[in-house]
Chain length 319, copies 2
């Protein structure tokens, strides 16, 4: 059985052997640039590791794993334009390094390429994978739209926020894991359990991100970026929900200004209402649901070692 | 047999019965806005008319026809951002009416929706239609990239220009016609002939656009828009190719300025080198190839009446 590291190596080998090319180089360069910036390759690893639960020979999942990673990078490319983000993985984003038109068009091509990769499978399998991709892609678009909508709203409730991160981030991890199971011809139940595992891992993962942005040991990123950008994470939402009227008004007004002590004062309010504890509890629940779903998968427990240690690593990270 | 007008009505009825909706209204409104601006519905009519060559009951082609039209509108939405076009069909473009982010994201959703519509077919048919869509979508992206590249070049040769309009415009008409034939379970040969018919119609159609922009009776659009925007159409390319060194330098310098008499002086050069005649000859050749391909289709000539009159109308228009 391949370790997580070996799965990443296998994937990277396949990715490089399937580099982007075509008749008009300018269309493919920005896509290659973004893919070459790296990243944890979490989604393709989920696909390959899910496949490996069922059999040792997992090469047939590589095209699906690449499709998922290409789709993920497409969504990053377009989101970075919309969010006006200058940096991605410490390097200039595509619309900065090239230009906005390149980021729009090369992103569009990556979207097509997702479907080209899925069309490499035989028709019935390809059909199932494409249905999964369609449903996921609609949700990812809806999630991004929800996120944009939230920027214009003073109040967001917890349920709406959780739906947003589910759609924008978590469903793709669910789809990644389910895809590996489907390619391995797993039962419907096992496919669904792996989807649930990925989905809840994705939710917990995003919540951990939100937590670490405020409370984490800093690693290059400036602390409190979410607060500086007035992001309505669970920390903000729970504080607004629990706060006295005076504190609520203070938080609202802090989120409308840019004073030097903004972050300190916002964190003081988060702390007063124990929003961090609430967030950690919520994260723990999603983590447990992810693990429970993996436990449900009907294969020898020994085959799950890889995914168990991967979930542990992801869900207990502190940076 | 349904007339072209009846095909449009059938399509519009289906389109309205399949209006865009989902959980996040802001994602769907810009897409509906653009689709509701209308247009000739040429591509879906090609799909339906191609199907009708083979059988009377053509309802099964409606989802494919809508997929093609949704894809077309997706590409318009993103192209209008890239080209900074303020108007589309006399109304504000999506990035003007809403904003650029809406045009990016709602366009992305339309792209997914194209594949959702094609996934309504049974797996083997859906697979073929998706392959056709993938190949077409890659070409459309490449065509748009070529067009962007041309803006930065002084010289473009005729072959490059024709490849650009083939990819950016004509292949989608080819795919539209082939799709109707495939859904009707036509033979490979008939599918290919209908693709060729659509492709050459698309090429001729675009060349007629280029001609009428300079020489047409004006209908609302200001004459010579392509010249004002320094577009390197066949008229420009052929003049550059045929002109004396002095005239070539004049044309080059006219294309770098914005004098009040620019259009008159450019047209004088086009006329001097009979670029208009060359363009009309080229258009005629593509038109004849389109008709020849339709002639090859192995069905009773009586069934071709609709498509023949549609081609005649498209290829002999003067506005």
């Amino acid at each position: 059985m391949l370790s997580v590291e070996q799965l990443v190596t296998l994937f990277e080998h396949f990715r490089k052997a399937n580099s982007f090319q075509g008749k008009v180089a300018e269309l493919y360069q920005p896509a290659s640039y973004l893919m070459d910036l790296g990243g944890k390759r979490l989604r393709p690893v989920f696909t390959l590791a899910a496949h490996q639960l069922f059999e040792d020979q997992i090469d047939s999942s590589l095209a699906g794993a690449l499709a998922i990673e290409v789709f993920h990078n497409f969504s990053l490319m377009h989101d970075d334009i919309m969010d006006q983000s200058p940096l991605r993985r410490g390097q200039p984003t595509v619309h900065i390094r090239y230009d906005t038109n390149a980021a729009i068009l090369s992103g569009d091509w990556m979207f097509v390429h997702t479907y080209e990769l899925l069309s490499r499978y035989e028709p019935v399998l390809a059909y199932d994978l494409i249905q999964l991709m369609n449903q996921t892609a609609v949700q990812v678009c809806e999630g991004q739209q929800r996120d944009i909508n939230f920027e214009k709203m003073d109040r967001v409730n917890e349920m709406d926020y959780l739906e947003m991160i589910r759609d924008k981030t978590a469903v793709l991890l669910g789809a990644a894991a389910q895809m590996g199971a489907r390619i391995a011809s797993a039962t419907k139940d096992d496919q669904e359990n792996l989807y649930t595992m990925g989905l809840h891992t994705g939710l917990a993962f995003q919540l951990i991100d939100d937590y670490l942005d405020v409370y984490g040991v800093q690693t290059g990123k400036k602390s409190g970026g979410d607060i500086r950008q007035n992001k309505k994470t669970i920390l903000y939402i729970k504080t607004m929900e629990r706060a006295s009227e005076a504190d609520r008004e203070e938080l609202l007004s802090l989120y409308q200004e840019d004073e030097p002590d903004k972050i300190t004062r916002v964190v003081r309010l988060f702390d007063k209402y124990e929003a961090g504890d609430y967030l950690r509890q919520l994260t723990l629940e999603y983590s447990q649901q992810a693990t429970a779903a993996l436990n449900q998968v009907n294969v020898d427990p020994g085959r799950k070692i890889n995914l168990i240690s991967l979930l542990n690593e992801l869900l207990n990270r502190n940076k």
